[in-house]
């Protein structure tokens, strides 16, 4: 980052620079990968040592040491095996590919591709939610309100989606998506306004906004509530004219057009952050608050703008999930996605490309964990634990470097938010 400190001759300086670039690249890739790996290893130990069979085997460790180790290994293998086959299913794809090449139908192949497609489907809201947190990080704001903002987004888009029958899809669908975008933006802008004009710290206000929308949605969705579906505590189904189309007709394959919307939005966020003046201001605000103030940037407006846009992105996360996959909203819709997004924004170093990659990884993990829960009876919350560990390891890379004996790269930085309660 402080390339200006390189003050040697031209050739030497470019040499240093390229070396540095490669070391930055390693640290940008190696530490996150090792962080995820280490977190998964700890997750594996947790799975094994909360398994009664394993614990019994270990009690008899001195009688049968191999038995204890085998039981441990088996416990982990069953769990993570289910995770892998449920998220990627590479073995099945390989087999189906063989069938197809030997003249068999494509049916087996399209079935085998379902887990992979489902992983991509799960990743879509993560991309939006991760971008939401990443945008906040870039501007020095910590938005932990994604959970609530995506609920607002989902509720408003679904409302538009079922409440206006008779519209053609090219009017209705964009309308529903816009509703989700605007709903999230409003819910995100409130903490932004509070921070800008009163100094209320966004970490607490966004959490409170989460609880407020959870109470409001409980009222909206309860049987007889304004948005309930008859005797069910869920919203009515979104009309076909407001559904984001699913692209394959295979049973269980819910891959949908929202994936491409996510990629386009990620590119737009990249453009905003790195190619526009506004983005430069946002990054300056995040990198050095004082410098931003003295350079004459209107910090208050920028705070509100960043929080509104971050909320809007989170709103889109809920929107795509509701319009493309679920097609209705019930209580517990967000299911911890807000916390996932923090982990993956940190993992992706708050860069749109990194966020997309991290979202693909976490979508895969989440999707596999669903299978792991049904096959191996491992609660899906194991993924939440893994995420917490990933955050710790990304935030304290020293731990990872110490574990794997890595060298300390120069000029590394971690985001800082806790400058005080006031502004």
């Amino acid at each position: 980052m402080d390339e200006s400190s390189v003050s040697a001759g031209a050739s030497e300086s470019s040499n240093v620079r390229s070396k540095k670039k490669s070391s930055n690249l390693t640290s940008a890739l190696v530490v996150p990968l090792l962080a995820v790996f280490t977190a998964l290893v700890i997750g594996a130990l947790l799975i094994a040592f909360t398994d009664p069979a394993v614990l019994t085997a270990w009690k008899n460790f001195f009688g049968d040491p191999m038995g204890a180790l085998t039981a441990t290994w088996n416990s982990i293998a069953v769990a993570y095996g289910a995770l892998l086959s449920g998220s990627l299913g590479l073995v099945e794809i390989w087999k189906a590919l063989g069938v197809w090449l030997h003249g068999g139908g494509t049916e087996a192949l399209s079935v085998a591709l379902v887990p992979l497609a489902e992983s991509l489907t799960t990743s879509v809201p993560f991309i939006f939610a991760g971008l939401a947190v990443a945008l906040g990080f870039q501007g020095g704001l910590f938005n932990i309100g994604v959970e609530g903002q995506l609920l607002v987004g989902a509720l408003s888009s679904v409302y538009v989606g079922y409440h206006f029958p008779g519209l053609p899809i090219y009017v209705h669908l964009p309308m529903a998506i816009m509703a989700g975008f605007i709903g999230g933006a409003i819910w995100g802008a409130i903490p932004g306004l509070l921070k800008a004009y009163t100094g209320g710290h966004e970490v607490i206000t966004t959490i409170m906004m989460n609880w407020i929308i959870i109470s409001i949605s409980a009222w909206l969705l309860k049987v007889g509530g304004p948005m309930s579906r008859g005797e069910l505590p869920i919203t009515p189904e979104v009309l076909p004219s407001a559904q984001i189309p699913q692209l394959f007709s295979t049973q269980g394959n819910r891959f949908h057009g929202g994936f491409f919307l996510a990629i386009v939005v990620a590119i737009l966020v990249y453009w905003l952050l790195y190619k526009s003046i506004k983005g430069f201001e946002i990054r300056m605000l995040g990198a050095n608050f004082k410098a931003a103030v003295y350079s004459g940037i209107n910090v208050k407006h920028l705070w509100v703008f960043v929080m509104a846009l971050s909320g809007a992105l989170a709103g889109l996360a809920g929107t795509v999930q509701a319009l493309a996959v679920d097609r209705w909203v019930g209580m517990g819709f967000s299911g911890g996605m807000g916390f996932d997004s923090i982990a993956l924004a940190l993992l992706g170093r708050s860069h749109p490309l990194g966020v997309v990659l991290a979202a693909l990884l976490f979508g895969t993990l989440r999707n596999g964990a669903t299978r792991m829960q049904s096959v191996a009876r491992i609660p899906i919350d194991i993924i939440t634990i893994v995420q917490a560990l990933v955050i710790v390891f990304i935030a304290a890379p020293e731990i990872i470097r110490w574990l794997y004996r890595l060298r300390q790269p120069e000029g590394e930085e971690t985001p800082v938010f806790s400058t005080n309660w006031g502004s």
Partner: protein, 430 residues
């Protein structure tokens, strides 16, 4: 920021202007609350109505009998309206010296007005509501005290929510297995110490941003408690029946009319809270440890120069903070409902932090602020008894009240009160 801005004259002018604007905002807010009392409550009453607030407990522990409070509904509401309006006018004119306390009083008046209005032509047991207030305030107060002890030494503890969750689960788990709530509480405190130590190591040793470290611990707490709850407690319900600390009526004190049943007929954890508030207040201002803690929180470099071990103080305080938070968590299970549910804390850790800010980083103030949150909790829990005709507001809307007050407190009080100067800043020895 706060330390550097006062340097130049224009900056201090700006600070003054900002201060003035905040004072006006407060006054306007007070007037709005007054208007709300008028529009929401007063115009829905007539001068025939009476609100009866019973002041004698229905339990066996009978203090000296006092007559019930029978209030003319409309007149009472008008008086409350006038008081709030007058406070708004005073705030706009001269300005309260301690605006945070004034805000607290306005909150209380509003909740009281709500109560009087809801009981029009009916009777409700005020003692029941107030003793529930003390109970509901307990976890929030523990969370706030945890914040006080950490932040006084300069470390922001956002991880309170996670520490409470783990404490809540461990407490009920251990109490179920051993049939002893005291053991449950003890092991929960140990778990809080461990999570406090984790936060301390991340924040002090690895210089991780304190808010990120705290959020990571919160997510970890949510994950691990949900994981264990699903893996062990749901298949084995006998692991989730820890029982509840019994209520103990303190002799003599519990016989005082009104005060007695409210404060002195609670369970052991509530009494532990009273003790913690008093001890912490005394310790912070009258002992070596307390003064050192404050020095470390205000100016760690100076404290270090004087030979105070900054890191040691911060480690100790953050670990004690984790322990206090976990007692608050344990209260949620073995202190009130006796069972653990996923995410049982429901944001109480963060509400506690708001109580801390409201209480201006003092133990007594934090407890007072917690009581306001507890009052709004109690109101929402008890008003449903009166039925839909009396309170034509969905209970989900009343649930929002504590979160809304938290936001208003953060918006209104932060910036008017002064946190420890080095709050949230890691200390690096030169």
């Amino acid at each position: 920021m706060t330390a550097t801005t006062a340097n130049t004259q224009s900056d201090s002018m700006m600070a003054l202007k900002k201060e003035r604007r905040r004072a006006i905002a407060f006054g306007v807010f007070f007037l709005l609350v007054a208007a709300a009392i008028l529009v929401l409550f007063v115009i829905n009453t007539d001068n025939e109505m009476m609100s009866t607030l019973k002041l004698n407990p229905t339990t066996r522990n009978k203090p000296i009998h006092v007559p019930d409070l029978v209030l003319p509904t409309q007149l009472t509401l008008i008086v409350l309206f006038i008081i709030t309006g007058a406070m708004g006018a005073y705030q706009l004119g001269k300005g309260f010296k301690n605006a945070a306390t004034a805000l607290g009083v306005v909150f209380l008046i509003f909740i009281a007005a709500f109560l009087v209005w809801a009981t029009r032509n009916k009777a409700i047991n005020l003692l029941g509501i107030l003793s529930f207030t003390v109970a509901a305030a307990t976890p929030i107060a523990f969370a706030g005290l945890s914040g006080v002890i950490c932040e006084r030494s300069g470390v922001i503890n956002i991880a309170i929510e996670g520490q409470m969750l783990v404490g809540a689960m461990i407490a009920v788990l251990v109490a179920s297995v051993t049939d002893s709530q005291w053991l449950g509480l003890g092991v929960a405190i140990i778990s809080g110490a461990v999570l406090g130590a984790l936060l301390a190591v991340l924040a002090i040793r690895f210089l991780v941003d304190q808010i990120i470290a705290g959020v990571a611990i919160n997510i970890f707490g949510l994950g691990i408690t949900s994981f264990i709850s699903q893996r062990y407690m749901q298949p084995n319900p006998e692991l989730n029946t820890g029982g509840v600390f019994p209520k103990i009526a303190i002799p003599l004190l519990s016989k005082i009319p009104v005060i007695g049943p409210i404060f002195f007929n609670q369970n052991a954890i509530v009494y532990i809270l009273f003790a913690t508030v008093i001890v912490m207040h005394f310790m912070l201002w009258y002992t070596r440890w307390g003064l050192r803690t404050q020095a470390v929180g205000e100016h760690p470099r100076a404290a270090d120069t004087l030979g105070i071990n900054v890191f040691r103080i911060r480690y100790i305080n953050v670990i004690i903070g984790g322990m206090i938070a976990s007692i608050g968590g344990a209260y949620l299970t073995i202190g009130s409902v006796g069972r653990f549910d996923e995410n049982i804390t429901a944001g109480k850790g963060f509400i506690g932090l708001a109580a801390m800010i409201f209480g201006q980083w003092t133990p007594l103030g934090t407890y007072g602020a917690s009581l306001i949150f507890g009052f709004s909790d109690a109101l929402q829990a008890k008003l449903q008894i009166l039925g839909k005709v009396q309170v034509p507001i969905p209970s989900e809307w009343l649930l929002i009240l504590p979160y809304l007050i938290t936001i208003i407190v953060l918006a209104g009080v932060v910036g008017r009160t002064v946190p420890p100067a080095a709050d949230g800043q890691p200390y690096v020895k030169e």
